[in-house]
């Protein structure tokens, strides 16, 4: 993105590749879900992995992540984002599921949480 020497700023080719990969990933995840090829947690894990791959395809081919030269500030900031997202989403899920597990049994009076 910052660099000019790799030529990706002026080439259509990476855009076309990113577009094809993202369309294929989207359709794959959609039809795996609609035709119930997988169900339950297996399905959730598979579609989340496909989404992460698709996001990386867009980040690399569209937004040129990983292509800058040193000192790679964009990548540093991106890794910090990943850390924050893991803490926020992972931490929230961990705490809230433990909370439900530990607190809810005493409240089982037909209230569906």
């Amino acid at each position: 993105m910052i660099d000019s020497h790799h030529g990706w700023n002026t080439s259509f080719k990476p855009l076309v590749w990113g577009f094809i990969i993202s369309i294929v990933c989207t359709l794959l995840a959609y039809f795996l879900t609609r035709y119930q090829v997988f169900t339950g947690w297996t399905l959730t894990h598979i579609v989340v992995v496909i989404a992460i791959l698709e996001a990386f395809a867009l980040l690399i081919f569209f937004m040129h992540l990983l292509l800058e030269s040193r000192p790679r500030w964009n990548l540093m900031m991106f890794l910090f984002l990943v850390l924050v997202v893991v803490v926020v989403i992972g931490g929230t899920m961990w705490i809230m599921y433990n909370l439900n597990y530990n607190v809810m049994p005493s409240m089982q009076a037909g209230i569906s949480l």
Partner: protein
């Protein structure tokens, strides 16, 4: 390996262009942190339907797939616009961003018709904690789309008048990144809200 015919305007490491684009990258990452908080709230609340319908009963899956494909195409055309801007082709950039604008308007109208359908059938944000979290997360994305559309108009007027100067190239690069960011966020909404929602 510099391409002499299409050498970009800016100094690759110290100019206005690279500082602005880097700053905008940091803005996009902080925006994604905001979305992360909304995703966390949604994941926690998605089972809290309070006797109301769950996601798989009310989501219109073919519509959501159409929206995803439209937004991916919009990210692609804005990338094309960015390449034309770097090649200093005013006309190419103008047409590409206009196509992005049209696709964005189609996406927005599909999204609003979906909201309208949900509210008309009694499933507004007042129905349950699940629907509150749903409208918050998807609504935050919709607001970003509205800003992105306004922003295209605001940037295309000086592009028409002045052609591609360094400042306009910088602005168009930020605009391109914004639309690509919207597509990436939507991929996660598509996956976590709609696809993984069939298990809830």
């Amino acid at each position: 390996m510099k391409d002499s015919t299409h050498e970009p305007y800016p100094d690759p490491h110290h100019g206005h262009y690279s500082k602005t684009v880097f700053g905008f990258w940091i803005y996009l990452l902080t925006d994604f942190m905001l979305f992360a908080a909304y995703f966390a709230a949604y994941v926690v609340l998605q089972t809290s339907t309070f006797g109301g319908p769950g996601g798989k009963e009310i989501f219109n899956y073919p519509l959501v797939l159409t929206q995803t494909l439209i937004l991916l195409t919009a990210a692609f055309t804005s990338g094309i616009g960015g390449v034309f801007a770097h090649r200093r082709s005013k006309q190419g950039a103008l047409i590409s961003f206009l196509v992005t604008f049209v696709l964005g308007v189609v996406f927005l109208s599909l999204q609003i018709s979906d909201y309208h359908h949900l509210i008309a059938t009694g499933n507004s944000w007042e129905r349950s904690a699940f629907l509150t979290a749903y409208f918050n997360l998807v609504g935050l994305h919709t607001i970003h789309i509205v800003f992105g559309l306004c922003w295209i108009i605001v940037f295309l007027i000086p592009l028409c008048r002045e052609g591609i100067t360094e400042i306009i190239l910088t602005r168009l690069s930020c605009l391109r990144m914004f639309w690509q960011f919207l597509a990436i966020v939507w991929i996660f909404i598509f996956t976590i809200v709609y696809l993984a929602g069939v298990n809830v």
